[in-house]
Symmetry: C2
Subunit: 269 residues, 2 copies
């Protein structure tokens, strides 16, 4: 099944544009989980079990797992195995390299872990991204406009009168022959998001930056979604997974996720 | 010791600008190494032992190790432990992310593995790179102009009349308050390398693309080195480590490395 089709299906089934960011900091999980061999996995497992019927996707930034050393690889595998097949999984690695090396990166993210989506940096161009879009059911989300301060350093640079990120968007569309390219646009850039959606009406857009990063949820939904009110994936991490640091953390995460889902659905086109 | 000082010392001691790229593909190591528990490490160990007196640096692209699954983390550790302290080690991960995630990336590359240098992508700007330049003895090599085809997609885009990569270079110089920023420039872009060196006379430049990627060695040395004939790190991977696929592979790698070192020294300023 093509990625876009899979995404639409789960967004309809779970009536949700919400992606939960499982960027699990082992120092921030409730203390009682330290009794387990893999507290990071135990945390993820409980969050997934509590929210799997109300999300369209889970995103894992692999930096939070690779930094755990040799065990991180297992934790990603175990976490992914806990996520139902129908839900989109995004390996947020911001990868990309010369082809021989990018193929190795894709071996890990797209074959070994088998995420249904990955994030990639555009700077090195088309051949640095190609290994991530080999399979039609796997999407590469190209960084267009990011939510951090440093986005101002290069992403807004004017190229032929338009900001660089717009060139990234129009170029990424040209790479989209298998209909499996997406974009990353920060939720704190609402007018830019609106413009990017108009330039790429048919691409999935992953929108980070809501919650801890204080992005604009209404704009993210209104401007990010397509004509059918779909194809935007709104990631919320810390605002949901750390809703409580007690034994009730998974229940509180569900409550936070339900509340976010409801708000988003209110704003959908 | 500051990174630049460490680099100059080893370049003088070993009279070498050569960096060997240990991007070891486990499918390309000589068959007799499969008898060992970790053929990738056994390969690296022998290459290091055979070349440690004639190089200034070793570069490891982490994609070749992380794709090996849970064991990759050990292989990197073991390989690094085999490299003498005085030699520069570069973790070629092309990382960079929003600060909370970039800190995790740096935890792995700069603290856990403790590479003396890393490669970072500029697209997300200053705060995405900062965790990699916290320690004065560790250098972040910012991708300026890469050796792959895709470099043409965005890196040459004209911004205020100059190519984007030049803006990356001048901006990276501004980030260099701790004297631990470097640049990556492909060996197949000689005139651009010359220009970049003139814009950044004091920055270390990592030059990939010689050998299998057919870059220009003479230009890499002449245009990449600083006034003292130093501060350019010329990476050669496949052209050295796969010089032979027999039992003599380490000896043949040494011979190839010696020959490259000699050629480079002939062209040095």
């Amino acid at each position: 099944m093509k990625f876009v089709e899979k995404l639409r299906r789960i967004q309809r089934k779970n009536n949700s544009l919400l992606c939960i960011g499982l960027d699990t900091d082992v120092l921030k999980v409730p203390e009682f989980l330290y009794a387990y061999g893999d507290p990071q996995f135990e945390f993820n497992r409980r969050i997934i079990d509590a929210t799997r019927d109300i999300v369209c996707a889970y995103k894992m930034n692999d930096a939070f797992y690779e930094s755990a050393g040799e065990h991180g690889w297992y934790t990603v595998h175990q976490t992914l195995a806990r996520i139902p097949e129908e839900i989109v999984t995004i390996g947020d690695g911001k990868r990309g390299d010369i082809p021989t090396s990018a193929e190795r990166q894709a071996m890990l993210l797209c074959e070994d872990w088998e995420f249904s989506g990955t994030t990639v940096s555009p700077y090195m161009g088309r051949d640095s991204v190609e290994p991530f879009i080999r399979r039609e059911d796997q999407c590469a989300f190209v960084l267009a406009l990011t939510s951090n301060k440093g986005a101002k350093d290069f992403q807004y640079a004017k190229v032929k009168g338009r900001p660089l990120y717009e060139h990234v968007v129009t170029t990424a569309r040209k790479w989209n022959s298998k209909k499996n390219i997406g974009l990353v646009v920060g939720a704190n850039r609402p007018s830019e998001l609106k413009r990017i959606r108009s330039l790429a009406p048919d691409l999935p857009i992953l929108v980070p930056g809501i919650g801890a990063q204080k992005g604009n949820l209404e704009a993210a939904v209104r401007y990010g979604s397509d004509k059918r009110g779909e194809l935007v994936i709104i990631n919320i991490g810390r605002g949901i997974i750390y809703a409580s640091d007690g034994k009730d953390f998974a229940q509180k995460a569900r409550e936070a996720a339900l509340s976010y889902r409801e708000k988003m659905n209110r704003y959908r086109n």
